[in-house]
């Protein structure tokens, strides 16, 4: 294992930020970390990079126990920060030069790596420009570039695709998959875009209130809620009065109406489509869909749908 | 417009620097010892620089609205743009009026100024305050970020103050220099204050009209909507 967090506890004043938190990342593996705001994702990243000390538990990185800063360990880690942390008043090339030197690269080797990284992030030919002139996607790619110059064995990416165009997002996701596969880099990827995590992760940890509430491969996690069928039926001019009739049907777990769409959850292995259609026959049915659960369904069923950073009256 | 006025006033008062500029700086300025010669005490002219910076800091809201794109949301609403500008300007003038009154009351205690000087110089300060707001709005049009705007403004305002006779008495200026600096509104401000202090009120109307012309000119450009 490249990274092993074992029952980590971290408190800030009275607040438990990490509560018996466990995580493992192997070589060449992409591990997704999902969680609502305030779940402990950034705290766990800070702990791994040595930016804070633990109250209890252990962190092993590259087989060594660490607690707090260690330059040897930092040398082998690349951190892609959530915010774009580059210097916008100097050129992209100068940014790469600076961050490369921070990690001990020098001379010809540094120049070579800058050229390689520029190709990897799709910015070759644009390095002389100031990042001020870049689009959001380009800035994000440069942000990543500054973190991989030194060929880290562990790459931590904290929401690297926030606020960028679909092309740049796709480019970054392809880049992450390629990097893990070709260079055996262990990658920790956090994001609020569940679809991204689903697309690239070998394993996923779902965290909430400082501890992991589920972990496994994407299919393993989906299997946890695979017991339910999600059926969507779109009709014209629906009426709420029919909801009660639908709820009374056997094997129906949940029914809701969202504009023109009846959303029905039934138990697995049950086929009551004919009964549902019969109940809805007074309406003109436009579309019927039997949805397989997604990672988003897993996430929402485990963490709930209520807002975490405010309430709506 | 009242909606904008009260919002602008609230936002301005919430900034701690507003209180410092309105209440503290006039006190510091009034304590500056007067020149030993019989010319207008330094406090009166340097207060003009305080007005300029106070106006600049107050108008930051307008630049922020543009930088943060709030102006787009406002523009999409039924609010007329001139009501938006008018509301802000009225709010800032209300605050500057408080500052002027406070400063003049301090001046009465410190320098025992005559009632005529009190009235005339208050009027000069009020017109200059309006001109400063107009100039600040005009200035902000050329910048996207407040940090850059104030950095360059600090230079320009200091040059205008120095060359216009706010930080160095006009009496010390050679005639050839005075011929050049008449293009600056700060010169006319210092000139009118000087004349008022010396009891020469005949030209005050003329100088106030020049300041008003500067104000109108800066407003004409500065009040334009810009995204």
């Amino acid at each position: 294992m490249v990274v092993k967090l074992n029952n980590v506890i971290k408190r800030f004043d009275n607040r438990l930020a990490l509560d018996y938190f466990n995580l493992e990342i192997g070589k060449g593996e992409v591990v997704g970390l999902l969680g609502p705001n305030g779940a402990g994702k950034t705290t766990s990243i800070n702990a791994m990079v040595g930016l804070l000390e633990l109250d209890e538990g252990t962190i092993e990185i590259f087989g060594r126990k660490v607690n707090g800063a260690s330059n040897d360990i930092k040398q082998r880690i690349g951190l892609v920060t959530q915010e774009v942390t580059i210097y916008e008043d100097i050129s992209a090339y100068e940014n790469l030069l600076f961050f490369g030197k921070l990690y001990g690269l020098r001379g010809e080797r540094l120049k070579q790596r800058i050229e390689e990284v520029a190709r990897m992030i799709g910015l070759e030919g644009r390095l002389k420009e100031n990042p001020k002139r870049y689009s959001g996607g380009m800035k994000r790619r440069l942000n990543i570039g500054c973190s991989i110059l030194h060929e880290p064995e562990l790459l931590i990416m904290d929401e690297p695709t926030v606020g960028i165009d679909p092309q740049s997002r796709n480019y970054i996701l392809e880049f992450v998959k390629k990097m893990a596969k070709e260079t055996d880099t262990a990658i920790l990827y956090t994001s609020h875009y569940i679809g991204e995590v689903e697309a690239i992760s070998d394993r996923v940890y779902i965290v909430d209130e400082g501890h992991n509430i589920a972990s496994g491969t994407v299919s393993e996690l989906i299997g946890k809620v695979k017991g339910d069928n999600h059926i969507h039926i779109d009709v014209d001019q629906p009426q709420e009065s029919v909801l009660d009739d639908l709820k009374k049907l056997a094997d129906v777990k949940e029914v809701s109406l969202n504009e023109n769409r009846f959303q029905i959850v039934t138990y697995a292995g049950v086929n009551i489509m004919d009964k549902l259609i019969a109940k809805l026959s007074p309406f003109t049915i436009r579309n019927v869909r039997n949805n397989e659960p997604s990672l988003e369904d897993v996430f929402l069923s485990l963490t709930g749908k209520s807002l975490r950073d405010g309430t709506v009256d | 417009m009242m909606v904008v006025y009260s919002l602008a006033l609230k936002r301005a008062i919430k900034q701690k620097i507003t209180l410092v500029m309105v209440m503290l700086f006039p006190v510091i300025i009034i304590l500056i010892p007067p020149f030993p010669y019989n010319i207008i005490p330094f406090s009166f002219t340097i207060y003009g620089l305080v007005i300029m910076f106070t106006a600049f800091i107050l108008t930051k809201q307008v630049l922020d609205d543009r930088a943060q794109k709030t102006i787009v949301r406002i523009a999409a609403s039924p609010l007329n743009h001139y009501a938006y500008v008018g509301g802000h300007v009225s709010a800032y003038m209300s605050i500057l009026l408080v500052q002027v009154v406070f400063f003049m009351l301090l001046a009465v205690f410190r320098f025992s100024v005559s009632p005529q000087f009190f009235l005339v110089s208050s009027l000069i300060y009020i017109v200059f305050a309006l001109m400063s707001i107009a100039f600040s709005l005009f200035w902000h049009l050329f910048f996207k970020s407040y940090a850059t705007s104030i950095a360059v403004y600090s230079v320009v305002a200091n040059i205008m103050a120095l060359a216009g006779g706010l930080t160095v008495p006009l009496e010390m200026f050679p005639e050839r220099v005075k011929d050049v600096v008449v293009v600056l509104p700060t010169y006319w401000f210092a000139y009118s204050l000087d004349a008022s202090y010396n009891g020469t009120y005949t030209n005050i109307g003329y100088t106030l009209a020049i300041l008003a012309a500067f104000t109108i000119g800066f407003f004409a450009i500065g009040s334009k909507r810009s995204f």
Binding site: I90, L97 | N158, V177
Partner: protein, 237 residues
Amino acid sequence: MLRFYGLRVLKDYLGHVILIGLPIFMITFMSYINTPEGESVAAVAGTITIAFLLMFHIFGAAYTHEGIEKDFFTPMRMRLKAAPVNPVRFIVAMIVYSVLISFAQTLVILAYSMVVLGAAFQNLPLVLLLFIINIVFSQLMAAVVILKLKKAAKAQAVMMAYAIGGPVLAGFMFPLPENTFTRFLERYSTPVAHIRTAITGVLNSDTTDIVLGAALALAFIAIITVVLVRLSESVKT
């Protein structure tokens, strides 16, 4: 790596315009204002240049202030602290290059004053040394203020208060009332007053003033360095 900090400071073109252009304008203007018609400005240009340079050294401390603010009080902090480098090195690099650039700006302004205005400076090497002391103190003070207050707006307010208050108390802006207290303030109130005392000593060939002024300023530098070393520990965590 240090070179990078020099590049950051060097590329602040607006800063150069403000910190070279504005003093040159003010020195020129004040020299002409204070010279009767028909006479050469050279007689007063030297003294006026020294006064403005001492003031603008304090404004030049903005390089250190803004550099540390960007590196340690924005999300950039995480990236830098995740690097295998002692974070204190960044602070040292910022201060070193800010001092160098501020001194270079001083040389440009001095050159203008000597070549264009005809100012003459007695014992120029000693005056330059005293300028360096003033620059070093200003940059160190900016570092201490931002690290202590942690908020850019508050730190800027403190530096602005020193930038205005220091020269006022030293008697640069306008003559203070004549009494023992104000004479004490003009000579000993702040490091900028100390350097002014020392430079006045150079101009008047008064060794006591030179030694006293320089020693006091260096003592302040020693104190503020100790404070800075302690505060620098906070950036490691």
